[in-house]
Assembly symmetry: C2
Homo-oligomer: 588 residues x 2
């Protein structure tokens, strides 16, 4: 039970000192989260209050069920883009159905994550190769930046691919609103300046770090305040500057999303993709930060934590969320010590939703777009593209296909092609385990790779070793190479399959061993095993294979080769045979 | 070029003797194929002539591009069922749109197979685990048999899942046509009898094998002839026996399927599934038969051969086809020696389509259903279910989930869940490579697994060996275990990562190595490598990793451990250090 409720562990030793650290971190995160939650709702095509709602209950749910002390969950750019792509296909942006579908999508993602967590499938985080994730995130960042240009220019444009978006923008270029463009451009300049120089400036002015740090992270909030005041004061909304307008104040009313079979079916695929991408992104951030403090996160419990957070988003009028990179780093740097920090940030957002929304009436959308563009450009990682190009052309190709997929076909096809490529790469690599034809190290009982050691081999008795478990993905490889050994050495009478590195043989590989034995029999070659581990042997004894085996099962490789060709493989130095090997263990 | 046209290889040494063998085999296969092609069209919900069309050009295409000498391609039961499931969702069974969609589906499958072949992705055949395929085939066989019961009972029933089909049948039970049921039941008894006893009977009567073999395979054709004559003679169609009716005679008119974006999009997923399942099934049959005669098939060229055959089916009014098990075995036993045998069988079917279709007017559908039921029941393999249960509970569970998926949700969800399970299993197994903490075999320079050998270890210098290539699926495993080694041994100062079994490190694993190095540095542990192979070293030198590495790269494991803790790991017997290892090769 305690495993499923990490809060019971850290909650017991919660002290006022920890509380002070958590509360300070929460304050800084809240300052970042207010503009980000509004902006990411904009990416998802949702009203701003939905962004706030997605930053309250989900944070509390993660604080209860999550295992990272520093992960800051909430709306993030890439998942918001994926949300827009998923729901944009189904219903009209901004309609009541659209908002309901976003909550349903979060709910479904939560269910999927929770199910994977209960089934202990945290190993799925291994699934996507790093270059593919990096390519996907980079391309999504550029796509998101492009999608926000319309708000910067004050035009209406649409599209889910880079080409569609740019075409749409170009056709609207004549109706650019210059006042809007000015606000957006100034915001970008201010945000970039604040990020690079504000902290230095404040420290230079002698402001203590405890105060300068939160202020330096408040760039987006300051831009929001500044431009909102300017628009209200100068009446710029009358000059065509698009503003956020009335945001209903108050907290979301909780409730289960409607169970609409057709809608659930349409959203199941996107929910799965969002769950995978969100989980992989979040776990990478959480692990990086945990390692810095020698803390541990639990991969399976993270599925449950993120699942609970998304269920909370789905039942409180939110949209899909996950752990975000920039906010988590800030949370970490600000000294958050337990998941409670996230809970306190939720409190900050709840207060905002209750009392501060009227102040956001005149907030120009161009400012939000500017904060998005500045934020996502940090997702664009050219360094990793260069490094991958230098290190591995095949990884680079996979990365480029993913990037091209996002640009040309949009974020969904992009991520699907990334996933498909990962599977193909996985299959390709798994189908080629390391193997060695082995021979005797002269004067010893050791058998090593003939390509790497000066060893003795026999024309009549050959031996192959496969370094890894045998399972369906490499079963055919096994057949090819063992039968190939017989084909390459026409005089061979015995083949010994050395099993020293094999801990498991699945049913597919067992069938392959049976096929190899059968085919070698037709070719007049006997098939032997050596150094089979105890548990593997126990399972083989439950099959027909050992009964059909034409040869024998030898305890050691030396014993096998010495028995099959004593002239080529004499006992070392004429001494009686001995071995350093412990006797194989048997299960039970 | 010759690689893509295997016909140029065997065609050159084609002799009259080979022709005689091929022609005889073709005759026997044709006798089987006539009723089967009509019956499998029935499974797919298509008019009988479509079955004939799918058995002409595709066979010729495979004869030109395929590499198996004995594979008999054409309509097969499982792929026909998948076709029905795919198109049944889109349009009404039997309509002109339905027929066009079937051809489009074949065309798309062909394109996919061809693309995979050109990209040399034959390794995809490794993809599905054997128990999952066996479960899928078994469940499909039962589902097909159930779907044919309506023709046996002479009622109308529908459904794509076992439950739907059985419910539908039960609700129609009162309108069973007894004459139809009689024809169907007699056909089944005759077919089962013919299969078991006809060959023995004929041999017992002294009929030479050359004649008795074709006749013994003609059971279905004899049933077709017998019941057709009976229906025509006795006028049973007037008593409610459903007959095939008029089959247009003549050959299909070739033509590209219409390019309808919406239709192609709907069919893309099913076409991919059909391509995968068809390929895996076909390759299994082809490899089994090739091994018996010590022939080889080319996995990549098989993709092209089956792709060409499906393109031919799609452009000549057919439907998706692949290599079938029973016909291929018959072709093999009958002595087919080259792919030309398939071409000759195509000629037989073409003649049938031109001249014999009027004779099939009175053919009762119940007879076709009976031939299907008898044929598919041989797909049901209870033995493999039992064997898998005994050998591996996890493989058994995957098999059962696939079977349940087919029964409860139909063939498409069944195969998707099978594929998904295979991927999850693959990921799970790939994420856990074999590894060993190693220590020194006393008195030698060898380092072996501490769990399996009595070896010497040091409290300050630990070493781990991973037996397999490092790539994204096991990158996290690597991090966990190397860092775990540091966590478990608080006094450890040096960790040596022994790379003797590593042939490749992908970009994801490189990132993990960088992370490990970084994190160990924070913990005051230096990180070393040993026995890095030449090509791996060359690539590492193109990265930043070696520059950041806190420790050294040692040529041998002994050199590493001896350098880091000379007291624990002295040179053997005080002699100067030497090694049997060849110096690592460097590329270029």
């Amino acid at each position: 039970m305690k495993n499923y409720l990490p809060i019971t562990r850290w909650g017991q030793r919660y002290t006022p000192a920890v509380f002070a650290d958590d509360a300070l971190a929460a304050m800084i995160v809240t300052i970042m989260l207010i503009p980000q939650s509004l902006a990411y709702a904009l990416i998802a095509g949702l009203p701003p209050e939905v962004g706030l709602y997605a930053s309250i209950l989900p944070l509390i749910a993660y604080a209860i069920f999550g295992t990272s002390n520093t992960l800051a969950v909430g709306p993030v750019a890439v998942v918001s883009l994926m949300t827009a792509a998923a729901i944009g296909r189904i219903t009209e942006t901004g309609s009541a159905d659209y908002i309901a579908a976003a909550a349903t999508l979060a709910f479904l993602s939560g269910l999927i994550l929770l199910a994977l967590g209960v089934l202990r499938m945290g190993f799925l985080a291994n699934f996507l190769s790093h270059p593919i994730i990096a390519g996907f995130i980079t391309a999504s960042g550029i796509l998101i930046a492009a999608s926000q240009l319309k708000h910067m220019f004050g035009v209406t444009a649409s599209g889910h691919t880079l080409i569609e978006i740019l075409q749409s923008l170009i056709s609207e270029i004549s109706s650019v609103n210059l006042t809007t463009l000015m606000i957006g451009a100034l915001s970008i300049v201010f945000l970039l300046g604040a990020r690079s120089y504000l902290a230095k400036l404040l420290t230079g002015l002698g402001v203590p770090e405890k105060i300068s740090t939160p202020i330096s992270k408040a760039g987006p909030l300051l831009a929001v305040i500044g431009t909102t005041v300017a628009v209200a004061w100068l009446g710029l909304d009358a000059r065509g500057v698009s503003i956020v307008g009335e945001i209903p104040s108050g907290l979301p009313s909780p409730g289960l999303p409607e169970f609409d079979v057709a809608l659930w079916r349409q959203l199941a695929g996107p929910a799965l993709l969002i769950a995978i991408i969100g989980y992989v992104e979040s776990v990478s951030v959480a692990q990086t930060l945990a390692a810095k403090r020698r803390e541990r996160i639990d991969l399976n419990q993270e599925l449950i934590g993120l699942g609970a957070a998304n269920l909370a988003a789905g039942t409180s009028g939110g949209f899909p969320i996950t752990g975000g990179f920039s906010r988590s780093v800030v949370n970490f740097d600000a000294g958050a010590r337990t998941p409670a920090a996230g809970g306190f940030a939720a409190l900050g957002i709840a207060l905002t939703a209750l009392y501060l929304t009227p102040l956001l009436y005149y907030l120009p959308k161009a400012t939000l777009a500017a904060t998005i563009i500045v934020a996502v450009l940090s997702l664009v990682n050219v360094g990793v593209i260069k490094r991958t190009w230098r290190y591995s052309k095949s990884d680079f190709a996979a990365m480029m296909i993913t990037i091209a997929g996002v640009f040309v076909f949009g974020v969904e096809i992009g991520v699907i092609s990334g996933v498909a490529l990962s599977i193909i790469l996985l299959l390709y690599r798994s189908s080629k385990p390391h193997y060695a034809i082995v021979g005797q190290v002269p004067g010893t009982e050791h058998f090593r790779n003939i390509l790497r050691h000066d060893v003795t081999t026999s024309p009549t008795a050959a031996s192959i070793r496969i370094d890894g478990n045998l399972f369906f993905a490499n079963a055919r490889f096994l057949e090819d190479h063992v039968l190939g050994l017989a084909a390459d050495q026409p005089d061979v009478k015995h083949i010994v399959f050395m099993c020293s590195a094999i801990n498991e043989i699945d049913a597919s590989a067992l069938e392959s061993l049976e096929a190899i034995n059968e085919r070698l029999k037709h070719a007049g070659v006997t098939f032997h095993l050596s150094e089979v581990k105890g548990p593997v042997m126990d399972r083989l004894q439950r099959s027909h294979f050992l009964g059909a085996l034409t040869g024998r099962v030898f305890l050691s490789e030396f014993e096998a080769m010495h028995t099959l060709d004593p002239e080529t493989f004499p006992a070392p130095n004429g001494a009686p045979s001995h071995s350093t090997a412990k006797p194989p263990k048997t299960a039970g």
